[in-house]
Structures are given as structure tokens and as C-alpha cells.
């Protein structure tokens, strides 16, 4: 496969304060032929009874991916660009260890195919020099793909954060969350 066009200077940014919960990302993601009309990105209301706030979750592509560590079949791998790929279908045994272990709750087990499926950063697009589909269609820039320098210039009031703390676990990710200026870590208790 020709991977020469993967631009390592470009990164994925999630900016939750811009999300309007429209689900365009999910629908566009599902269009990819590798996804079989199932979205790999998830948009959910936080608590519709009190707010219209939504939360968007895409694979964070961890530096040291928990999903891969807990996979007994060695089906999940991270490539040279830092992309954590969806389970190798020849290896995945549908044990759902990854589903339970991922601190972000990203991998899903497809009951009918008995396979884990998750976002692979639109590898077919990003390896061809394109942006991921969700970050291309997102009508608000809540999902954005490009260089860190450009992002800082466009959104001077926010800082990208890719360090997360879940209880005792520290996680560093390839994907960034846009946080208020000055933030360096997102602590999830």
C-alpha cells in the first residue's frame, strides 16, 4: 500500500464547545465502504432532560493503546504513523476485552459479525493525503484535521490537550481535545 501521502504534521482535534449534535459526522463516517454503514464516531446527548449538549467520541489513537494491550489475539496494532487500527478481522475473537478496557469507550463489538470495529482515522483517506471524512464534513469545526500551528492560529482562546488522566491511568493520545487556554491535561475522575 502506498502510504507516502500520510502527512504526519496533521493532527485530529475535537473541539466540544463547537458541537451542535447534528450527527453529520456519524452519517458521513458510515458511508465508508469499510464501515458497512455503521459509524465509527459517536455523538450522544450528555443529558437531554437538562441540556442539548452533546458529546462526540472518536478513537483517540493512544500512544500506548490499552485496547491493543488487552487484546489476547494481538488483533489491534498501531502503525508507524501512530494510527491504531481496527481489529484485524482474521485475528479478532470478539472477546470484547478492548470494549471494556478502552478508557474512552471507543471500540464496539458488532454482534452480528462478531468483530470489534472502531475508527482507523479514515486510513484510506489520510494515507492518500485527504482529511478524515468526519472532520471534512463537520459543519462547525468541532472536528478538525490539520496542523497544530494552524489550529493555534485559528482558535487563539483554546489549547489542544492530549494528556488524559483516568483515575490512576495516564493516557497520551494522537487525537487532541480543545480545552480552555492554559489547560494541559484533562482529568476524568
Amino acid at each position: 500500500m502506498n502510504t507516502t501521502q500520510f502527512n504526519q504534521n496533521e493532527e485530529f482535534f475535537i473541539d466540544p464547545q463547537r458541537c451542535i449534535g447534528c450527527h453529520a459526522c456519524e452519517m458521513a463516517c458510515a458511508e465508508c465502504e469499510t464501515n458497512g454503514q455503521t459509524p465509527m464516531i459517536h455523538v450522544d446527548y450528555v443529558d437531554r432532560a437538562t441540556t442539548v449538549q452533546t458529546s462526540t467520541q472518536v478513537c483517540m489513537h493512544c500512544e500506548d493503546p490499552t485496547c491493543a494491550k488487552v487484546c489476547p489475539a494481538d488483533a489491534i496494532t498501531k502503525d508507524e504513523f501512530g494510527v491504531v487500527h481496527s481489529a484485524n478481522t482474521a485475528r479478532c475473537i470478539a472477546c470484547a476485552n478492548c470494549v471494556m478496557a478502552c478508557p474512552f469507550g471507543v471500540p464496539k463489538k458488532n454482534q452480528e459479525t462478531q468483530l470489534m470495529m472502531k475508527c482507523n482515522l479514515c486510513y484510506d483517506r489520510t494515507s492518500a493525503g485527504k482529511r478524515p471524512m468526519c472532520a471534512t464534513v463537520c459543519p462547525t469545526g468541532a472536528l478538525w484535521y490539520g496542523t497544530r500551528e494552524k489550529m493555534r492560529q485559528l482558535r487563539p482562546n483554546s489549547d489542544p490537550v492530549n494528556n488524559f488522566q483516568f483515575g490512576m491511568q495516564m493516557v497520551k493520545t494522537k487525537v487532541n481535545f480543545m480545552m480552555p487556554k492554559g489547560a494541559t491535561i484533562l482529568v476524568v475522575d
Binding site: 500500500m1 464547545q17 463547537r18 458541537c19 451542535i20 449534535g21 447534528c22 450527527h23 453529520a24 456519524e26 452519517m27 458521513a28 458510515a30 458511508e31 465502504e33 469499510t34 458497512g36 454503514q37 455503521t38 459509524p39 437531554r48 432532560a49 437538562t50 441540556t51 442539548v52 449538549q53 452533546t54 496494532t77 502503525d79 494510527v83 487500527h85 481496527s86 481489529a87 484485524n88 478481522t89 482474521a90 464496539k108 458488532n110 454482534q111 452480528e112 459479525t113 468483530l115 470495529m117 482507523n120 486510513y123 484510506d124 482529511r131 471524512m133 471534512t136 464534513v137 463537520c138 459543519p139 462547525t140 469545526g141 485559528l154 482558535r155 487563539p156 482562546n157
Partner: protein, 756 residues
């Protein structure tokens, strides 16, 4: 009698709406398309650029069009899924004739045309020409809008042509003409980028114009303060710096009160007011008593919030005010619009970079479709059908005698009323589903049933077309070339991607053929859409909406041209009023006094709750298209009654309980959705659905006296909880089944394997 030939349930079983889903592996040929067509979305006024993938005369997918300057590839869920209306199982493939007790049966085009023309002639001979009316819509291109206007006036020879923009932008149009003498948003949206204050009045931008949100967030990145006026905490209101939850129907009180504060604190541009406006003194006099106390009492908004809005607006150096149906769908829609414009004029912030104002046009071609003779009182170029000079000019372009040009006719809802009274006996519709989108559905249905003959031109058998005697199977957006004018006033190219399927014909072919058979062929000898556009250019020349300098080639080269563009070497006009020469007779921008008054229907002991209506992000207008696209339906499958927990508690209503909502017109039942994101005195139901699910059964036919827009946004209702509950929606259907319920279990494509 245009009654249903068989029960509605049987019609729905045959003609839909059925939900269309893409196959799991995508449509065949998507990876190797025959053509990638750069065009625009068929839905809202943003007209986002999109590329359609075409294989074997089918639209098989889409690819973002990242070079188009407005949206740069961005799309909303409707845009992502829009291609699924192509090759839809409900698509009409041949003309259909109503057969009592049987339904609709296909007939050939020759017979369909013969019937159409003989019925038009029979009704017009018996009852007069104006007894045959036409209702049209602004999802049509500029070419088709122009063609319909010409067709109605010189082939059908009726004065009774109007369009569904009457439910959309007419209040804004009338307000803008009064104030500026022109009906167009004053700025393109890039002027949002460095506006210090952005005020969004009655527009659920995040759900109805999602791709505009990007421009508003850009303004905020640059430090803008965002003010949102809406009775609900919409997604954009949640993220606003200041949310003013106005009581429905009291908008002009809020804007009057803000003007009062601007005057009181001298946050005024005296130079601009003195040199470029008229009417300030009279306007100021009207708001003299509109102090904060009064405003809080009338609008239900805390006075410190009103004060803060006035202060931010008053002190800003740059600003952009946007409004939409939230202030326009009122019996005083024009007054609300004018009250907003007064704030813009008082601060003189217009005609300069990052100083903007405009309505956000709702429909795809809501802008262009309202400029070229589609309206009952209008001729091309936004000319006045009662102005002798305008009449003479258009008559000369069309090659007819001025005396043969009909005069002003009835507006859309008035046409329905005239049908109900028995004055109009025949109807032809295109691109309009009034049985869902007009208020008081029962009344509209009664009117349709009184028609002697009804011809519907459409690509799906929508709920109104089910009443037709004859249905002419027509074309989708992607099946004809043309242009539309976006909400910014940018004229863009719609490209034909595929041909109509089966024996369906293009809208243009159908209209031209009827015109020929009515004996008007010599006026309708257009070879293609571009020929129609070229005549439109001439017809618009010298009018306020002047397209003369715009050509297909110029649009394609520049990715759109902003009108007015009077000459071939003119670059177009993205920002109006830089020269401060307004198009009013005295060349000045006009303040207009707006004394506040209540909506037509106010709550009382019998009907104590305010009902307001609107849209959701996954559906579009009357749903003819979007209720047929599976994932859009699944995202929000049925209309829900949004109700605040305090109001719900008063009636003992719990979440998902089915509640009867009763107005003076009708009673309808909806599952309750208990949310804190709405005023305590107001309930909300979206309007995209038909029949028993239609909230427009309950809305009133009260019209604005000037624009004739119905008051969709305010009705008085009472609530009666039933002892039934709606089942909970399924949890994450895509995860449990691996996809849509309409499709069998997937075979995961081989390409899914690890590819690193």
C-alpha cells in the same frame, strides 16, 4: 372533487414515505464513478457545495467539495444523505391518473398532457381564467422559478400564482424593501468573521443552517460576543454568551426596548442617522416608554439581560444581526423584521466590513426564487406587477401586450381560502406540499377536496399530491441544469448529474409542453436551461435584483457571483450599501416605527399554553424528501412535544407520556419530551410530519397584513395528558444490528481487513 381515491393508509403503503438506506457495501460503482459532478445541496438556503458520484445514471454517493468557498466541504446530515433521494423506491416513474376506489394508475404522457390542458381550458372557460391557480416552490432553480412566473401569466393566463416562499421569507422581504428598497441579505457571511457582536434573532441556526455555524464560531474565535434570542435553548443558544429566551410573539417589544436603551445611552451613530436615514424621530417616539420594566414584563426576559444585550450592541464597533423564521412567522412578522433593522440603522453599522445584517433564507432557492416573478405581486428582477413601467418592460421582453399581462393575484394561503370558498376551481402545483406546510391542515384538506381538477407536478407522491386528479412525474434537483441564489445572494450553478428515471420528465420539459399545448408555444421555445437564464438576465436588467451581468461561464469561473451584477464586466456585489445609496425612492435607509402589539392568539383560561413550531436538524420542511431517507428519519423518528418540567408537573405529565395538544382548530397527540431547554409557558413541536402527526393541524391561519405569512410561531393551546405512553426509542440501533433495521445482517466487506 380532489378527494383521495382510496384510504390514505393504502396510498402510503404504495407510494411511501418509505425509508431508503444505502446498501452496507455502498452502491455499486461508487469507487469507480463515471462522473463526479460539482453541484450544490438540494435543501436549505446555504446551498453547500457538494460533489455527487454518478454511475450508470445513478447517484451512488457523494464526496465533499472542499474548494467551494462557503462550506469548504462541510455538510449537515441532510447534505450527507441527500443523494439517497435519487433512485428511491418511492420515485414516480410515469404520469399517474387518479382512479376512484383503485388509487393511481400510470398513463402515457400524451394522454396526461391532453387531460391537463383540456381541464385547464374547461375550468377557465366556465369560471374565468383566474379560477385556475398555480402554487409553486423555491426548491426550484432560478430558471424554473422564472419559467413558472412566465408560464402562469402568459400560458395559463391566471393572476393567481404564488409560492411556498410565502411561508418562508416574505416578512423579511417586505421589511427589507421598506427599509432598504431591496430584498437581499446585506452582506455575505464572511463579514461575520470579525464582527464584535453577533445577534441571532429567532433562528435555530445549528439545526436549520448547520453549516452557517462555522462562520459564527469563527467570529467567536476572534473575540465576538454572541447573543441568541429564542424561546428554546437551541444548540447555538446553549453556547451563546447571552441567551434571551423571549416569550413567543413578543419579539418587537424586545427590539423596541433595546432601541430605547440605545437612545437613552446615546449609543447612536448620529452622522449616519442624519445623512443616510429617514424616520428616526417617529421611530424613537414610539419606543419612548419601552423601558426595561415594561420589556421584562412583556417579553418574559430578565431586564438585566435585555440591558446587557443593549449595551453590547450599543458599544460595539462592528456587528452582524441575523434573523429567520423565528421572528418572521408572525402576524407581525414584518414589524419584527423592521424592529431589528431599526437597531442596525441606529448604530449605522451597515455597508462596511464586518458590519452586517440579513435574513437567513430558508429554502434552497428562497432568495432567487423570490426575485423573478414567482410571487403573486411580482415580475422578474423583483419588479412590481402593478407598476406600469415595470409591466411595460416585462411585456416587451416577453413579446406580449402589456394589457395581456395579468395583475396582482392572491397569496398562497389566500389561494387556499379562495378554493375553500369555491372561487378557484382548478389548481396546478409544483414543488409545494401545502397539506403539511400550511397552517390548519383540516381547512387545507377541505379546500383541496373542493377542487374540480388538480394537477400535481412532483417526483414523489407527497401528501398534497395524493389529492390530485393527475400527477406528472417530474425531476429531482440533480436532474436538471440551472442556477440558484444562496442566502448570501450568491448565484451558483446547479449541474445535471443524471437524467430522470423511467418515464419521468424534467420540470422544464413538463411546463414547456403544457405551455405549447395551451397555445403559447412561441413564448416558450427555450432550448435549454441556459437559454431560460439568458432571458431571465434580460428580464431582470434594470430591476433591483439585476442579474444581467451574470452568465453561466462567469458563475463557473468564480464559483458564484453576487447580485446585483448589472453589466458583464461587473464583479458582483457581496456587500451592499458601501456607497450608502439605498434603493428607496429618497435614496435613504428608512427607520419605521414599530408599536408593539400582541400576537393574534393570546393565551387564556381555556387555552393557557403557548405553542410554537419549528424544525429539527435531520428533517427538511414538509418532509417530502427527508421523510424518505432512512437515517434521517431514524435520527428523529416522530414529532415530540417539548415541555418544561415545571409545566409538565402541573399536568402530571411524565416523559414519553402521550399528551393531547388542543387548539381552536384541532386536537393532536404527541409523546412528551420533558426538557429544561424551553420556557415554562411554551411547548414546541416540529412540523415536518403529515396527517395525525402534523402540528399544523393546530396552527392558525392568522396572516401578517403585509407579507401574508401565517403565524406558525404562536398559537394558544391546552394540554390533556392521556393514560398512554410512547415506547422508548431503540438504543443505538446501529450497534445492535450492525446497521439499519431495513437491511439484513451485513457481510463485512473484505476491505475491512487491517491495511496498515
Amino acid at each position: 372533487m380532489a378527494t383521495l381515491p382510496i384510504a390514505q393508509e393504502r396510498l402510503a403503503a404504495e407510494f411511501g414515505p418509505h425509508k431508503n438506506y444505502a446498501p452496507r457495501e455502498g452502491f455499486p460503482g461508487r469507487d469507480e464513478p463515471d462522473d463526479v459532478v460539482k453541484t450544490h445541496c438540494c435543501f436549505c438556503g446555504m446551498q453547500c457545495g457538494i460533489q455527487l458520484l454518478v454511475k450508470d445514471n445513478r447517484v451512488v454517493g457523494f464526496e465533499p467539495w472542499e474548494e467551494f468557498p462557503f462550506n469548504e466541504g462541510r455538510l449537515c446530515p441532510k447534505g450527507v444523505q441527500r443523494y439517497l433521494q435519487n433512485n428511491h423506491p418511492d420515485r414516480l416513474l410515469a404520469p399517474l391518473e387518479r382512479v376512484e376506489g383503485v388509487g393511481f394508475r400510470p398513463i402515457d404522457w400524451d394522454r396526461a398532457m391532453e387531460r391537463t390542458v383540456s381541464e385547464i381550458q374547461r375550468i377557465q372557460e366556465k369560471y374565468g381564467r383566474d379560477a385556475f391557480a398555480m402554487l409553486s416552490g423555491v426548491s426550484l432553480t432560478n430558471e424554473k422559478s422564472y419559467l413558472v412566473g412566465k408560464f402562469a401569466r402568459i400560458a395559463l393566463k391566471t393572476r393567481n400564482l404564488d409560492y411556498n416562499g410565502r411561508l418562508c421569507m416574505v416578512s423579511a422581504g417586505a421589511g427589507n424593501k421598506k427599509a432598504f428598497g431591496i430584498d437581499r441579505t446585506s452582506n455575505n457571511f464572511s463579514d461575520l468573521k470579525h464582527a464584535e457582536v453577533v445577534m441571532i434573532c429567532g433562528t435555530n441556526v445549528s439545526e436549520t443552517f448547520p453549516t452557517l455555524t462555522h462562520w459564527i464560531w469563527q467570529a467567536r474565535d476572534n473575540g465576538a460576543k454572541l447573543i441568541v434570542v429564542d424561546p428554546r435553548t437551541t444548540p447555538i443558544a446553549r453556547l451563546a454568551d447571552l441567551h434571551l429566551p423571549v416569550r413567543p410573539g413578543r419579539d418587537s417589544a424586545l427590539y423596541g426596548a433595546i432601541l430605547h436603551q440605545l437612545i437613552k445611552h446615546d449609543w447612536l451613530d448620529h452622522e449616519f442617522i442624519a445623512n443616510h436615514t429617514s424616520g428616526f424621530e417617529e421611530t424613537a417616539a414610539v419606543v419612548k416608554d419601552y423601558d426595561l420594566e415594561w420589556a421584562e414584563n412583556v417579553t418574559g426576559i430578565a431586564k438585566d439581560k435585555i440591558m446587557l444585550a443593549a449595551e453590547w450592541w450599543g458599544k460595539a464597533a462592528t456587528s452582524f444581526l441575523l434573523h429567520a423564521r423565528g421572528i418572521e412567522h408572525h402576524s407581525k412578522g414584518v414589524e419584527n423584521v423592521i424592529a431589528c433593522i431599526n437597531l442596525v440603522l441606529a448604530t449605522g453599522r451597515i455597508g462596511r466590513p464586518y458590519c452586517g445584517y440579513g435574513t437567513i433564507t430558508g429554502q434552497g432557492n428562497g432568495q432567487g426564487g423570490r426575485e423573478h416573478g414567482h410571487k403573486c405581486d411580482q415580475l422578474p428582477g423583483n419588479r412590481d406587477i402593478e407598476n406600469p413601467e415595470h409591466r411595460q418592460y416585462i411585456a416587451s421582453v416577453w413579446g406580449i401586450e402589456e394589457k395581456d399581462l395579468p395583475h396582482k393575484g392572491l397569496t398562497a394561503y389566500e389561494i387556499i381560502q379562495a378554493i375553500h370558498r369555491g372561487e378557484i376551481k382548478g389548481l396546478i402545483t409544483i414543488c409545494f406540499n401545502p397539506l403539511v406546510s400550511l397552517p390548519n391542515n383540516t381547512y387545507v384538506r377541505e379546500a383541496l377536496e373542493k377542487l374540480e381538477y388538480y394537477v400535481a407536478i412532483d417526483f414523489f407522491l407527497n401528501e398534497t399530491a395524493q389529492h390530485a386528479n393527475l400527477v406528472l412525474a417530474s425531476s429531482l434537483h440533480e436532474e436538471e441544469d440551472g442556477t440558484v441564489t444562496t442566502a448570501e445572494g450568491r448565484v451558483v450553478r446547479i449541474r445535471r448529474a443524471v437524467k430522470p428515471p423511467g418515464n419521468a420528465r424534467t420540470d422544464t420539459e413538463i411546463i414547456l409542453e403544457i405551455a405549447r399545448r395551451l397555445g403559447a408555444g412561441k413564448y416558450f421555445s427555450f432550448e435549454n436551461s441556459e437559454a431560460i437564464f439568458n432571458e431571465l438576465r434580460v428580464a431582470s436588467k434594470g430591476g433591483t435584483a439585476d442579474y444581467y451581468g451574470i452568465t453561466y461561464e462567469k458563475i463557473e469561473k468564480n464559483m458564484g457571483v453576487f447580485w446585483p451584477c448589472p453589466t458583464l464586466d461587473h464583479p458582483g456585489t457581496p456587500r451592499l450599501w458601501e456607497d450608502k445609496k439605498f434603493k428607496t425612492p429618497d435614496g435613504k435607509a428608512h427607520f419605521n416605527p414599530v408599536p408593539h402589539r400582541d400576537p393574534m392568539e393570546i393565551t387564556d383560561a381555556e387555552y393557557p399554553v403557548i405553542l410554537t413550531t419549528g424544525r429539527v436538524v435531520s428533517q427538511y420542511l414538509s418532509g417530502t424528501q427527508t421523510r424518505r431517507i432512512g437515517k434521517l428519519v431514524d435520527q428523529y423518528p416522530e414529532p415530540l412535544l417539548e415541555i418544561h418540567p415545571t409545566l409538565a408537573a402541573k399536568y402530571g405529565i411524565t416523559d414519553r407520556q402521550i399528551v393531547a395538544v388542543i387548539s381552536r382548530r384541532a386536537r393532536a397527540e404527541f409523546p412528551a419530551q420533558i426538557v429544561e431547554t424551553i420556557r415554562e409557558d411554551t411547548v414546541f413541536v416540529p412540523y415536518h410530519w403529515a396527517g395525525k402527526q402534523s402540528i399544523n393541524q393546530l396552527t392558525s391561519g392568522h396572516l401578517d397584513p403585509i407579507s401574508k405569512i401565517p403565524e406558525f410561531k404562536v398559537s394558544a393551546v391546552r394540554l390533556e395528558p392521556t393514560n398512554r405512553r410512547a415506547p422508548l426509542p431503540p438504543l443505538e440501533p446501529n450497534q445492535s444490528s450492525g446497521g439499519s433495521p431495513a437491511h439484513p445482517a451485513p457481510q463485512l466487506p473484505p476491505t475491512h481487513a487491517f491495511r496498515g
